[in-house]
Symmetry: C2
Subunit: 316 residues, 2 copies
């Protein structure tokens, strides 16, 4: 067995201590969470998908004030004011951008020309290859078990990680179903050089998600999430009145327009930020069933790292 991994292509690329990356999550990952994770030696990410551009600017500036360490912004490419977001990211000299939900060709060159490290989130080997061809520095391969928006092919981390690993030369970050150091080691055995963790960081003191949402995640049991809205963009949600309504409608043959109407606007904000546990959209991963405690982001990074170290010294 090698010594504990504190130096690989990902830690070098991002200039971080541990290959533990906090996922950019709507309504949860503002400057408090991102700076806390970066200060703890991981990579903190601002979730720009739920921010107006002025809000993003404020969060970038506050993150820079709160940490001298590297951090990133997660940028859903389909965001309506994406150009304005990018102008701010470049002007504020954000060192790393994770792009998602769109074609990696669209902005990779623009961002890289500005000196930014670019990582693209994919759910298949094919898109991993496209990201590599577009000049991305790394990819995140996100499995079916992940919370929030998800791939149509439903490939799980156990299969996706080795598949993507075999398909590309740039480093691979695994996401989906990872909340513990033992899961982190499993992902690295499968070919990842780092892990991206969302659900576990929702249950941190610093996440801006509503306390009732954090509590619901803590209480979630196996089978309490489901993938829905497959005709729109598939999304993994904590089951509640809203998700049950969607599921029922899908079973009964609802079309895209009907589902779009049911979804309406600002459902995610209503659930995750405002705390409406029944009518809100609650994006969360399957691994919520393994999480039982809210703690500081720094304590989470330490816990995962210690668990990883223990797993490395006694893998089975």
């Amino acid at each position: 067995m090698q010594p504990l991994l504190t130096n690989n292509r990902i830690t070098q690329l991002f200039q971080i201590e541990y290959p533990i990356i906090q996922a950019g999550m709507v309504w949860a990952s503002g400057w408090r969470l991102a700076s806390a994770v970066s200060n703890a030696g991981g990579l903190g990410i601002l979730g720009a998908g739920s921010m107006y551009s002025e809000v993003l600017k404020e969060h970038i500036q506050k993150t820079k004030a709160a940490t001298s360490k590297p951090f990133a912004v997660n940028l859903p490419i389909l965001y309506p004011n994406i150009k304005q977001h990018i102008d701010i990211i470049i002007a504020e000299k954000v060192p790393i951008v994770f792009t998602s939900a769109g074609n990696p060709k669209t902005f990779t060159t623009l961002l890289k020309d500005a000196g930014i490290v670019v990582v693209h989130v994919v759910s298949s080997s094919l898109f991993a290859q496209k990201a590599e061809a577009a000049g991305c520095d790394a990819v995140v391969a996100e499995g079916f078990e992940a919370g929030g928006h998800n791939g149509r092919e439903e490939t799980t981390s156990m299969v996706l990680i080795p598949a993507v690993k075999a398909a590309i030369k740039i480093p691979l970050i695994a996401a989906g179903g990872i909340a513990t150091g033992r899961q982190m080691l499993a992902a690295m055995v499968l070919g990842a050089e780092a892990v991206q963790i969302g659900t576990r960081f929702i249950c941190s003191d610093e996440a801006s998600s509503h306390p009732q949402f954090k509590e619901a995640v803590i209480q979630a049991k196996e089978g309490d999430t489901q993938l829905g809205l497959k005709q729109l963009v598939p999304v993994r949600l904590l089951k509640n009145a809203f998700s049950n309504m969607i599921l029922e409608a899908e079973k009964n043959g609802a079309n895209m327009e009907a589902l779009q109407t049911m979804l309406g606007k600002a459902r995610a904000k209503k659930g995750m930020f405002e705390g409406d546990m029944e009518e809100g959209e609650l994006e969360i991963g399957q691994v919520s069933s393994l999480i039982n405690e809210i703690k500081s982001a720094a304590a989470i990074v330490t816990e995962i790292w210690n668990d990883f170290a223990a797993a490395v010294s006694k893998p089975f």
Copy 2:
């Protein structure tokens, strides 16, 4: 790192050399495959779900003639002539039975009173606990990525293995998404003491599945399987005209009766045994995308074990 694992609770329980178990699969795992895997040092399993009782008896006797090593029978509890199957299993002194698709309480005591080691297949921690309470010697935890019949909660191996591990004291065998030694190590890092492998063994010389089905599995790419028939018993299938018809019907709100009629009888036989690649039901796992060669069962066991050994000595 420990030395290579050749001795744990599962190898002791089954009296086998390697903790590699071949899944009992309808229309694929008769005496040729089961005896080849057992002779190679793993545990071969006869898939009784596609056999009349007289056929099962013949396969048990041929397996005993072909190997002096332990082997098992996979017994779907909902099988119509289950009592007759059990009488034969007891009379023929089959040493190990894997029960699936039903309540572990139903037959565990009966089988154990006959001196048989009993393992139950589950897709959740709750059912793993029920299997333990029923007196089972071990459980198989089968993730969403697995081929064939599957759990309703859709929990993937990355999440299911540690969840089941935490819920029970008896040993855990991981199934779903595992075809390589590196995936085997990942499963063991997550808490498994052995792996059960189906899809990889479909692509063996000794599997009784139709050559065209084996070829289709070799050709399968990422995203070529899907979980369907969720209103009946969810099943992971290779996509073809039949599965597309089912998917379309489900999207349009088909009810259970309509789906049952579309499924009809003997669809699995038509596809996997008779080689109808469009109208047959082709049960296979997501990991088919990683499999590119048909070889002997012994070569598969050796390949997985060597890959596992390499992964243990250089996990990342």
